[in-house]
C-alpha cells in the first residue's frame, strides 16, 4: 500500500500546489510575516520596547496556534472527501487501481505537506524578522525549531481529525468550525481533566512559555493544567494515528454518492 500512497500523494501534492485555495491560504499565512514587518519597523522607530521574544510568543499563541493551524487543517481536512464529490471528480479516483485507504492517507499527507510549507515559511520568516538582531543567539534557533515541531504536531492532529469528519459527514465544515473555533477555545478554560479533551491543551502544554502570565494576552494561559511533555507528544501522535486510521477504515467501507 505504501507505493499506492506515494502515487496518490504525488498527484495531489502537485494538484494542491496549483490550486487557487493554496494561493489564498498562502496569502493568509503570510499575514504573520506582514505583522512581523510592521512590528519590526515600529520597534525600530523606538515605539515598542517589549522583548521581541515575548512579542513573537503572543503571535505564536494567538495567530499560529489558535488560528492558522486550525483554519488550515479545517479547510484542507474537511474537503478531502467532499471536494471529490462536489467537484464530481470521484469517478476518476474510484476507477484507478489504488485502495481507498491509500487515497485517504495519500490525500491527507499531501494536505499536510502543503499546509506545513505554508505554516513553516510564515513561522520562520516572522520569527527571524522579529528576532534577528545583535542579541540573537544560537539557542534561539532551537526555540523556533521547537515551536515549529509543536505546531506541526498540532497541524497533523487537527488535519487527521478533520479528515475523519470528511469521510463521515456530507457537510463536515460546520462541525469542524464548531470544534476548531468553539470547543477548542472554550474547553481550555475549564479546570481539571475536561480541558484535556481538546487538542490545543496538549499543544499549549508543549510550548515553553505556557506558564507565562505576563503581557496583554496572559488570559490565554490561565487555568492551564499542563500535561507532561512526552505524554502530550504521545497523545497528539495517537490522535493523529487513530483518526487517520478511522478515516481510512470508514472510507474503505462507505459508499459515496455524487449528488446530481
Amino acid at each position: 500500500m505504501t507505493t499506492e500512497i506515494k502515487r496518490v500523494f504525488s498527484f495531489y501534492f502537485f494538484l494542491k500546489k496549483k490550486s487557487s485555495r493554496t494561493k489564498i491560504f498562502f496569502l493568509l499565512s503570510s499575514a504573520a510575516i506582514l505583522l512581523a514587518v510592521v512590528i519590526r519597523v515600529y520597534r525600530l522607530a523606538g515605539h515598542w520596547a517589549e522583548n521581541s521574544q515575548i512579542i513573537f510568543q503572543n503571535i505564536l499563541m494567538v495567530f499560529f496556534l489558535q488560528f492558522l493551524i486550525v483554519i488550515l487543517a479545517l479547510f484542507y481536512g474537511t474537503s478531502i472527501v467532499p471536494e471529490e464529490l462536489e467537484g464530481k471528480t470521484w469517478p476518476y479516483l474510484s476507477s484507478r487501481p489504488v485502495s481507498k485507504a491509500a487515497i485517504i492517507i495519500g490525500k491527507y499527507l499531501s494536505s499536510l505537506a502543503v499546509t506545513s510549507i505554508m505554516l513553516l515559511s510564515a513561522l520562520l520568516l516572522s520569527y527571524f524578522i522579529l528576532n534577528l538582531d545583535r542579541d540573537f543567539q544560537l539557542k534561539d534557533i532551537w526555540t523556533v525549531v521547537s515551536y515549529s515541531l509543536v505546531l506541526l504536531l498540532g497541524l497533523a492532529a487537527y488535519l487527521s481529525f478533520f479528515t475523519f469528519l470528511s469521510t463521515w459527514l456530507a457537510k463536515p465544515i460546520l462541525l469542524g468550525l464548531a470544534f476548531g473555533f468553539g470547543w477548542e477555545n472554550v474547553i481550555q478554560y475549564f479546570p481539571g481533566t475536561t480541558q484535556k479533551l481538546s487538542i490545543v491543551h496538549y499543544l499549549k502544554s508543549l510550548l515553553p512559555q505556557y506558564t507565562s502570565a505576563s503581557g496583554r494576552l496572559s488570559f490565554l494561559f490561565i487555568r492551564l493544567e499542563p500535561t507532561s511533555d512526552w505524554l502530550a507528544i504521545l497523545i497528539l501522535l495517537l490522535i493523529t494515528v487513530v483518526f487517520l486510521g478511522l478515516a481510512a477504515l470508514l472510507f474503505s467501507n462507505k459508499e459515496y454518492l455524487i449528488q446530481d
Binding site: F14, K18, W90, P91, Y92, S95, P97, V98, I258
Partner: protein, 308 residues
C-alpha cells in the same frame, strides 16, 4: 467462454427509489450499448461496474472477479464518466499524466502515454492549455482520453458522445470501433439513438431499472412484430384510402394528417396490410405519393417496448 462482464441478479436502490432491479447479463468483447431514457438505470449499472456503488442484491464481476473494493481489476478497465467534471487547474497533459501516475507508471511513461491519448482524441495541440479553457467538445474528448490512456481491456463509457460536434463525433465513433477491432470490451450508454446505431448492433434496452430487451438490432426489430406497426401513406385520395381499408380486421387504428394529405395506419399484421394495399393499387386509380414507416427505427422499437 467466460464473459468479460457479468451481472447476477444485480439490484440497487437509493432509499425508496429504484436504481436497477434484477439485472442479469453477460457482456463479451465488442461494443454493447445500454440504451434508455434518463433515469433508466444506465449510470447506476455503470457505477456498480466501476466500483463507485455497491449493489444491494446480487453481484457484478469483471474478468470473473467481484468489482466492489477490488482495485486489481481497475488497471484493466477505463471509465469515462458522464459528468463534465475535471481538476480544472491542470492542463490537459497534466490531467492525463496525473491520473496515469496512479497506475504506477513512471514520469516518462505517464508523459508518453498521455501524449499518445491526446493524439488519439486530437487534442495534442492544446495539451498545455488548462482544462478550464477547453470547449465542451474538447472536455468530452479529454474525458475519453483519460479512460483510454492506459490501454485498458474494458472500456465503460457513460454518454461519451454527448456535446461533441458532428466531426468529433465521427472521429470518436471511429476510435471506439478501432478499440472493438482490437478485441476490447466496450460498454457504452446513450440516449441518442443514431449514435448507438452508428456504433453497434448489440443493444440492451433498459428502462425503470430493468432490462426490457437485449439482442442485436435485428433481434430488436423482430420484437417489433409482436407490437403494432405504423404505416404512413401520403396520397391525394387519403380519405378514400382510409375508407377502403377501414373494414380490415388487422387494422387497429387510423390517424389523419390532412395538412400533409396523409393517413397513418396502425396494424398488427404488416404483411396482410401490404397485400391488401397492393390489391387496391392494382384495382383502383389510387395515387400514392409516399409510403413510410414512422416507427421503422430504434426509437420506435424503444417506445413500443417501454409502452409509450
Amino acid at each position: 467462454m467466460t464473459a468479460i462482464i457479468e451481472a447476477r441478479n444485480l439490484s440497487r436502490w437509493y432509499g425508496n427509489v429504484l436504481g436497477i432491479s434484477e439485472i442479469n447479463l453477460e457482456i463479451n468483447p465488442g461494443i454493447t450499448a445500454l440504451l434508455g431514457p434518463n433515469g433508466a438505470g444506465k449510470s447506476t449499472f455503470m457505477k456498480i461496474l466501476t466500483g463507485q456503488l455497491k449493489a444491494n442484491i446480487g453481484e457484478a464481476r469483471i474478468f470473473g472477479e467481484k468489482v466492489w473494493n477490488n482495485r486489481r481489476i481497475f488497471s484493466r478497465l477505463g471509465f469515462c464518466p458522464e459528468d463534465d467534471a475535471f481538476y480544472e487547474e491542470l492542463s490537459g497533459l497534466e490531467f492525463l499524466s496525473g491520473l496515469l501516475s496512479l497506475y504506477g507508471f513512471n514520469q516518462a511513461e505517464c508523459s508518453r502515454k498521455a501524449r499518445q491519448a491526446l493524439d488519439l482524441v486530437e487534442l495534442a495541440d492544446v495539451a498545455d492549455r488548462q482544462v478550464r479553457s477547453y470547449s465542451r467538445g474538447m472536455r468530452q474528448r479529454i474525458k475519453l482520453a483519460q479512460a483510454i490512456a492506459h490501454d485498458p481491456e474494458v472500456l465503460i463509457l457513460d454518454e461519451p458522445l454527448s456535446g461533441l460536434d458532428p466531426l468529433s463525433k465521427r472521429h470518436i465513433i471511429k476510435l471506439i470501433k478501432e478499440f472493438k477491432n482490437a478485441g476490447k470490451t466496450i460498454v457504452i450508454s446513450s440516449h441518442i439513438l443514431p449514435e448507438v446505431e452508428a456504433l453497434t448492433s448489440e443493444i440492451i434496452l433498459i428502462h425503470q431499472g430493468k432490462i426490457i430487451a437485449r439482442g442485436d438490432i435485428y433481434f430488436i426489430r423482430d420484437l417489433i412484430d409482436t407490437h403494432p406497426h405504423m404505416i404512413r401513406i401520403k396520397s391525394p385520395q387519403f380519405r378514400q384510402l382510409a375508407t377502403t381499408m377501414a373494414g380490415e380486421d388487422y387494422l387497429l387504428k387510423m390517424a389523419f394528417e390532412p395538412e400533409d394529405q396523409a393517413v397513418i395506419f396502425e396494424t398488427h399484421d404488416r404483411d396482410r396490410f401490404f397485400n391488401r394495399l397492393n390489391e387496391l393499387l392494382l384495382s383502383s386509380p389510387l395515387a400514392i405519393d409516399e409510403i413510410t414507416s414512422p416507427d421503422d427505427n430504434l426509437q420506435a422499437v424503444f417506445d413500443y417496448l417501454v409502452g409509450k
